[in-house]
Homo-oligomer: 650 residues x 2
Amino acid sequence: MTEAAPQEAALSEQELRTLDAHWRAANYLAAGQIYLMANPLLTEPLRPEHIKPRLLGHWGTSPGLNLVYTHLNRVIKARDLDALCVWGPGHGGPAVLAGSWLEGSYSETYPDISRDGAGMELLFRQFSFPGGVPSHVAPETPGSIHEGGELGYSLAHAYGAAFDNPDLLVTCVIGDGEAETGPLAASWHSDKFLDPVHDGAVLPVLHLNGYKIANPTVLSRLPESELDALLRGYGHEPLYVTGEDPAQVHQALAAALDDALDRIVQMQRSAREDGVTERVHWPMIVLRTPKGWTGPAEVDGLPVEGTWRAHQVPLPGVRENPAHLRQLEQWLRSYRPEELFGPDGRPSADVLACVPEGDRRLGSNPHANGGVLLRDLPLPPLDTFAVAVDKPGAALHEPTRILGDLLEQVMEDTRERRDFRLVGPDETASNRLQAVFDASGKAWQAEVLPVDEHLSRHGRVMEILSEHLCQGWLEGYLLTGRHGLFSCYEAFVHIVDSMVNQHIKWLKTSRQLTWRAPIASLNYLLTSHVWRQDHNGFSHQDPGFVDHVLNKSPEVVRVYLPPDANTLLSVADHVLRSRDYVNVVVAGKQPCFDWLTMDQARAHCARGAGIWEWAGTENGAEPDVVLACAGDVPSPPTSPSSSPTTATPG
Amino acid sequence: MTEAAPQEAALSEQELRTLDAHWRAANYLAAGQIYLMANPLLTEPLRPEHIKPRLLGHWGTSPGLNLVYTHLNRVIKARDLDALCVWGPGHGGPAVLAGSWLEGSYSETYPDISRDGAGMELLFRQFSFPGGVPSHVAPETPGSIHEGGELGYSLAHAYGAAFDNPDLLVTCVIGDGEAETGPLAASWHSDKFLDPVHDGAVLPVLHLNGYKIANPTVLSRLPESELDALLRGYGHEPLYVTGEDPAQVHQALAAALDDALDRIVQMQRSAREDGVTERVHWPMIVLRTPKGWTGPAEVDGLPVEGTWRAHQVPLPGVRENPAHLRQLEQWLRSYRPEELFGPDGRPSADVLACVPEGDRRLGSNPHANGGVLLRDLPLPPLDTFAVAVDKPGAALHEPTRILGDLLEQVMEDTRERRDFRLVGPDETASNRLQAVFDASGKAWQAEVLPVDEHLSRHGRVMEILSEHLCQGWLEGYLLTGRHGLFSCYEAFVHIVDSMVNQHIKWLKTSRQLTWRAPIASLNYLLTSHVWRQDHNGFSHQDPGFVDHVLNKSPEVVRVYLPPDANTLLSVADHVLRSRDYVNVVVAGKQPCFDWLTMDQARAHCARGAGIWEWAGTENGAEPDVVLACAGDVPSPPTSPSSSPTTATPG
């Protein structure tokens, strides 16, 4: 099939040669990481002792990821693009590691893994090896904002990164396995929330290599017309790149990328300069290449390349089986490493011809290490918003409504900077935060009717009935160096239990990486909580998210239960300033008693838990919920697994 | 728009009149439940004391649900259909309660709520009232297998109900809010797993009423051509019913339903009688009617009907505001209750003309009370599969592989009955259960290539890379009276935390309803567990699901940690026989030591936790994981929240 075969070749002979050299080098390095712990340049015949004792990793997706890395290099360099890539099939860690090693960003991040033969040997050895690096794209991987273990969140992360980054291109490779997940299936509709004026572009690359671990994928087995209808139904203009001949695919992919990027430039110009407000139908690429492409075609008489058998380690017995070892050597030599690397192991000029410079490299783009771009959020003085408390327990306020006034001011004060977003599943007003609409509308690119309220093409309040999208968008936004808050019904935040698990893991690992700058915390406001859900009943009652996060690392997790409006203001101020935490704030939206003046709330939060003495000594009344909040806690909790509810400033 | 306006009227004048009468009656009853606690038949002018002190409920979706209920009645009766309906917008509880009260199934289930004026008053009063019934479709609702609180799972539940029920029609109303969720978005591809020979039909009705709580919905604001492409991309043939004139919509919906059902019959006949194996493109209906249709057009000068303002209670101030009270009375009288109900409150003959009889009624269909159809699973003697243990801690086996042999036999023994399914996210073989493929292939209706293995149009092993779909399918399957097992990587089962929360709530509530017969337990096999995930790393390591379920009601939850192959066999036998539990079995797929002979395992499981004594006294060795499993536990746990790990037979 040649849908995207260009009329005239997109690449010159020389470009084709050098791009192919880069791709072959990356494939060589990917396979090398899976198998080798010595003899990285094949300067001698492969022997069993060169092979790792335990073979791990995912080969199947790696050639496709490498191909995208190679071709992104070309367009970044040719067009001087500010670009990220989110690697949905990030379990193909060897590919992304290969790409960043080739461009030099890996060695700059980890100087011991030098860009030469010695470094290559370490690169190979460390992969999925005790004391080494994970087999997936992970926080340790330069250029990444997306862990490749649990599937489904790549496209939401990509959109989150693109919001309020008007000059950024975020390519997102979506595996056809991942595409079967719920969160990914919902993410396709994110295009209705992407502002072509203030946001960057997202370029989805749906990689149909046809198989998961053990099965064909649903999307790869649809008739072409059905797949095309689906993608157009999602709002995209799909461009198809299909093949198994490398030269043909290089030409087709280069043409498709040029086409897509030209369209994106034109669409952005229409919206930004010509004032066109019609909804944009962004291009996307469907890349259909064999799983485990260029790897062993058959092993032990069974087809491997182009099948699920290529998913992980296609030749599992190379240490014990001489025939497998020979086949591995043939496979590795098929990339002609002697053309790709000098005798010292440095990549050749041809290999590096497509590689961009400095921060333009995918492994060095600062957006992928968002903390380096992060600015403190402008937070107004709390006294402006505080409620007067003449007598504790006398007057009533809706705490989240008071918080809404503060958030309105934050929204207002970031009108130009555009680095704060509020996300929620259709519940901003239900959660009493509607004051924010005076400072920002709700992001919306689809049709608007006269009866609608607060919808805006340029809004920074994000509402969609998907907790998964709220979470994924916000994660991508925070990881690229911005701020935000997720307001959610308490019971339904469990929908993202697994996503918050993975984000907590990301933060925990990132804290140990000195090169990763701290990012803004992921802040939850859980309201419509269990104590006031009598009307919606059992399905809406669940305080268990606190349990869920409290069994995570106390280095990362904080839970706040502010009992009144002023305490919520103090807590909100604190969590919005904090870094690298997951902060869970549970607060009511129904009227509840005011207990603390603003000064008392501030003092209380500053000295940690003490509400019980206060309540007991000052007026005898007791707050309805125990407070645990920010403050100078003299010593860390003695039992990390059970008492991280007291917090130190982040 | 008149896309589906029929060439000749689908309904006679009389049918139109009686269907409209049923619909008006249902709308009257829905509104009545939200507002009234006295004067149900409006025999006197409305006064404030007739109004509930607290107004709760969801009016917006109710007229649409009522419309579907009315028209399903017609086709069930006309075609003698065995039909269920899954109500995705089940927060419109008043609608489904109205439908089942009109048909009499409600009064048969709850005799105090009689089908007359006295019963109507109780029906109204009990709704979302202390001591009454939930505001959502819930376990308490006759005819339901789907709770309407947390959105996203309706279509997966519908497919689960249809699997292996060849004569069943499962209509599924999908709200356009719910359609934004990840699980629902993924569920559309379930059609690639529905066997037209052995499974029933699923008829999705996408109800575009245009708004959520506070926002327009994404799908309702797509251009028609884009929506059509999307639905065809999902594999469906969409039929459109659009309008706001009741008579026209009645005709169009009747025509569309007839068209859809005719097509379904023909497609099933082709597959079943003519041996056609091409993938079926099932019909579906897009129903575009106003939110809060027939309710107040405006309230206090703001548009309500057809907007998000109709979502919950469109006239909130009727007790205090005489103008609102008058408007409510006008609204209720607009249905002309005196034509619909006799002086005694019984529905008129016109209203009941469309209602089917006996078990054909949606509120009485036995599939919605699946326990009444449930048969014991044939479980083979365990000794056939047991591993020999001459000496504890000497030999190694992969426990899940041994379990696979047992499951193969269960699959084999249910070949004709077809009431057992195994679901998993592409991990059946990875989890070492591949022996089952000797008895059943993997369900798959899409294209098959020569290289594929174990795919089958008629398979009962279900693999898709979506934990949400695995969970949703299995829940629907169990709730309609069948058996199953969900095998999953331990870390990623958190993806369905929220779904299992809701299923546990369903079971807990159902146990208190004497009319609901016990259903088979939801059994998880969690493997690839934290202790053996060094190679996949941090993202794949998480033992927290046990924490997640252990804070649920000990009436419903059981956790088993069998330390070896024979104990796993005993546990599996136990959980597959049990009823109304969520059973979490954590077991290794990697080789681990055999500790107990089959007899010892059986005895151990029968007497509850005792492994430590045994291990200490018999050979001094200790098992690698503490065992908690089935057995005669003399007394219930003293601390319900912390020790439900010991189980009593279900």
